[in-house]
């Protein structure tokens, strides 16, 4: 009986110790995306260890799988085990800033000796600015580019007119374009088309959406023309990995697609080019990437600032970029020996960010994206472009403003 009581007490104590959530107040809790390979995970931990050795500041690195990162982060922020700093997806900056979850790091950034705002790719830095305050800094970035099948297209088009003209030279069973995706993806890629005909998602004052103006209609019409309405296009659109399987001539994609195609479709002969634009307009695209933010509740903001400055060093950014497959957000560090990757770096010079406005993700995923993929591009019941975009704009304005 005595033995049993001892065992029960020991187990209870162990459980209590296991559940203890108190942490050392001097250790930075840093949440980041978990690299896909064990080697990269180890390299990330070494990177952070080096910082601790260099500065004496202790850091607890918590690597979380990217797909569940936002959910886990939100849960943690609602509980007791809150991080002091973390990665944060670009379009979430405004949502976290508006409710005071993340801290205005302007004062920390002004003391950085090695990095200035001009060092970053144009527009990338601005993804962290909300209501004229700086809520984070970019670490990695990527942009969408045009992937083309070299067996179907010898020279990539540079203008919309050239792009559409390729259709006439395609053999039977092949179609011109795929890859805009459904829902949120369609909304994201739409921005690339919009920018390439001179449009933008918000108006100049930032007081309303502008994707339903004449540029928006033109961009949506271009996507519709690229897809076409012939049965082959429709069938190829429904096929998984139509580009990888050589069924379509073009798709939009980014750095992660290069690795995917090289691995899964080693015989695919493809090239990468800048996204074609309307005549007279410089090629542009959309962008994505990871920013790093500091949380308002953190008592270690100064030390977090030092860690961010360390992460922005070239040797660190190069490694971080390797982990995600994206590029360093600092322009002079982004270099590659691969011609295809260099095209993406060139495209980033003119790529535009999503609006830094709370609840934009919902507008993108619930209104704009489905309007394009399910209404305008529907082969069963295609809706009028202008009225579909007007409906989406009306809903978006009601939600955002």
């Amino acid at each position: 009986m005595k033995n049993n009581t001892t065992i029960i007490l020991a187990v209870t104590l162990l459980c209590l110790v296991g559940c203890d959530n108190t942490s050392d107040d001097n250790i930075i809790s840093f949440w980041a995306y978990q690299p896909s390979t064990q080697a990269h995970q180890n390299a990330f931990r070494e990177l952070i260890n080096d910082f601790s050795l260099e500065t004496g500041i202790k850091v607890k690195l918590n690597l979380v799988v990217k797909d569940s990162f936002n959910t886990a982060l939100n849960s943690a922020l609602g509980g007791r085990a809150k991080p002091d700093m973390s990665y944060l997806d670009q379009p979430l900056i405004a949502d976290y800033a508006v409710d005071g979850t993340i801290f205005d790091i302007s004062s920390l950034f002004s003391s950085f000796e090695t990095v200035a705002s001009d060092d970053f790719f144009p527009y990338v830095y601005s993804t962290n600015i909300f209501e004229n305050k700086l809520y984070g800094l970019p670490l990695n970035v990527t942009a969408s580019v045009l992937f083309y099948n070299k067996e179907l297209v010898s020279t990539p088009p540079t203008s919309w007119a050239e792009w559409l003209a390729v259709k006439d030279s395609l053999p039977s069973g092949k179609s011109l374009f795929d890859g805009i995706g459904n829902g949120g993806y369609a909304g994201w890629y739409f921005q690339a088309f919009l920018a390439n005909c001179g449009g933008s998602l918000l108006n100049n004052q930032g007081s309303g959406v502008a994707f339903n103006d004449s540029h928006g209609v033109e961009a949506a019409q271009m996507i519709k023309d690229l897809y076409g309405s012939d049965p082959t296009s429709i069938i190829n659109r429904g096929t998984s990995d139509a580009f990888g399987n050589g069924l379509v001539a073009f798709k939009l994609g980014s750095s992660s697609d290069i690795e995917r195609f090289d691995t899964n479709f080693p015989n695919l002969d493809y090239g990468v080019a800048l996204v074609p634009s309307k005549s007279g307009i410089i090629s542009s695209s959309n962008m994505g990437g990871e920013n790093v933010v500091v949380y308002s509740h953190s008592k270690l903001k100064e030390n977090c600032g030092k860690l961010i400055e360390y992460l922005l060093k070239q040797e660190c950014l190069d490694k971080l970029s390797d982990f995600t497959g994206n590029f360093p957000a600092i322009r002079s560090y982004a270099q590659s020996g691969d011609e295809r990757l260099n095209t993406i770096i060139d495209q980033m010079e003119t790529s535009v960010p999503r609006p830094v406005i709370p609840r934009w993700i919902r507008v993108n995923d619930e209104y704009l994206g489905p309007t394009l993929s399910d209404k305008i591009l529907s082969d069963e019941n295609p809706r009028d472009i202008q009225s579909s975009l007007d409906d989406a704009a009306s809903a978006a304005n009601q939600l955002l403003f």
Binding site: D99, G183, I234, N245, E366
Partner: protein
């Protein structure tokens, strides 16, 4: 003295019994009951997980029911879910009955067929979705082969008219083994003399099925109807994995919309309100189902008689 000893023994037995079931009770209270009560409270708040919840009364419920611009998918997803239920439940029950009756008719290789039908039930939903994605691909797989051979342009998952029925067929296929096992055990329990009596009366296979088998497995049919209905109202994984709710929201089920609301848009209060609306629908259907249970009418009459008898005695 003896009575006291018996009482003490009874108490001891009761305490030991409670101790044995206490882990389950603790689990139920901590991980099921508490979240259920908490989420009910959360449904009356506006909460994004990061900041403290703000009490908004019935606003979430009112907005969901009335604001079709901010919540464009609420009514649509409810309708999609009902359509899915109307397709999958009858199909599931009828298929289960047919397959079970065939297996119950002393067919050769009964064990093999039982195993074959049960395999999808123990296969991961992700694997099932991957297999079906390949089967229905309009260029590759079976549908692709039909398209190539016949010059057709069948794209089952890409059309609003076929995507949801396909999901229903998939659900029926993957749940068939489990349902057949339950139905088969009910059929095996039917007294063989009933079949003999039917045969003496000149009944053939079809008459035996409709006049002996069906009435005797009616409670099992009802059980399957209720569980399939609840399952179909909670349909999520196939849609999440295969269609993402498209095309044109034709496969956006209520559960998928709740998932989007909570994990994509962090509207925890709204998602909780939606969960309680779904809970109310499921509860209503379950209660309605219980009303159809065989013997319910007799049980109610008996209860009324007992009550009346007690009242007469009291008078």
């Amino acid at each position: 003295m003896v009575v006291q000893g018996k009482n003490r023994q009874k108490k001891k037995t009761a305490i030991i019994g409670v101790l044995f079931i206490s882990p389950l009770i603790i689990y139920f209270i901590v991980f099921q009951l508490t979240p259920i009560i908490m989420s009910f409270g959360i449904s009356f708040t506006e909460w994004n997980w990061r900041t403290p919840p703000v009490f908004v009364g019935f606003n979430n419920y009112i907005e969901l029911f009335t604001n079709r611009i901010i919540y464009p998918n609420f009514w649509k997803s409810l309708w999609v879910t009902i359509q899915y239920m109307l397709m999958s439940v009858p199909l599931s029950v009828v298929t289960t009955l047919i397959v079970s009756a065939m297996l119950n008719s002393k067919i050769k290789g009964e064990k093999f067929f039982k195993s074959a039908f049960f395999i999808p039930s123990v296969t991961a939903g992700v694997a099932i979705s991957a297999i079906w994605m390949f089967l229905i691909d309009p260029t590759y797989g079976v549908v692709g082969a039909i398209n190539r051979a016949c010059g057709t342009n069948i794209n089952l998952i890409g059309r609003t008219t076929t995507a949801l029925p396909l999901m229903a067929i998939m659900a029926v296929w993957s749940g068939l083994g489990y349902n057949v096992l339950i139905m088969l055990s009910a059929m095996k329990n039917i007294n063989p003399s009933l079949y003999e009596a039917c045969e003496i009366d000149g009944g053939g296979t079809i008459r035996k099925f409709f006049h002996v088998t069906i009435p005797n497995v009616a409670p099992t049919i009802l059980f399957l109807c209720v569980t399939s209905t609840i399952g179909s109202l909670q349909a999520f994984d196939q849609m999440y994995l295969m269609t993402g709710g498209g095309p044109d929201g034709s496969t956006t089920t209520f559960m998928l919309e709740i998932y989007n609301m909570i994990f994509s848009y962090q509207e925890v209060g709204t998602a909780s309100a939606m969960s309680y609306i779904l809970f109310a629908v499921i509860l209503a259907i379950t209660l309605m189902g219980q009303g159809f249970l065989p013997g319910q009418k007799e049980r109610r009459l008996f209860a009324r008689k007992v009550k009346n008898g007690k009242q007469l005695k009291a008078n």
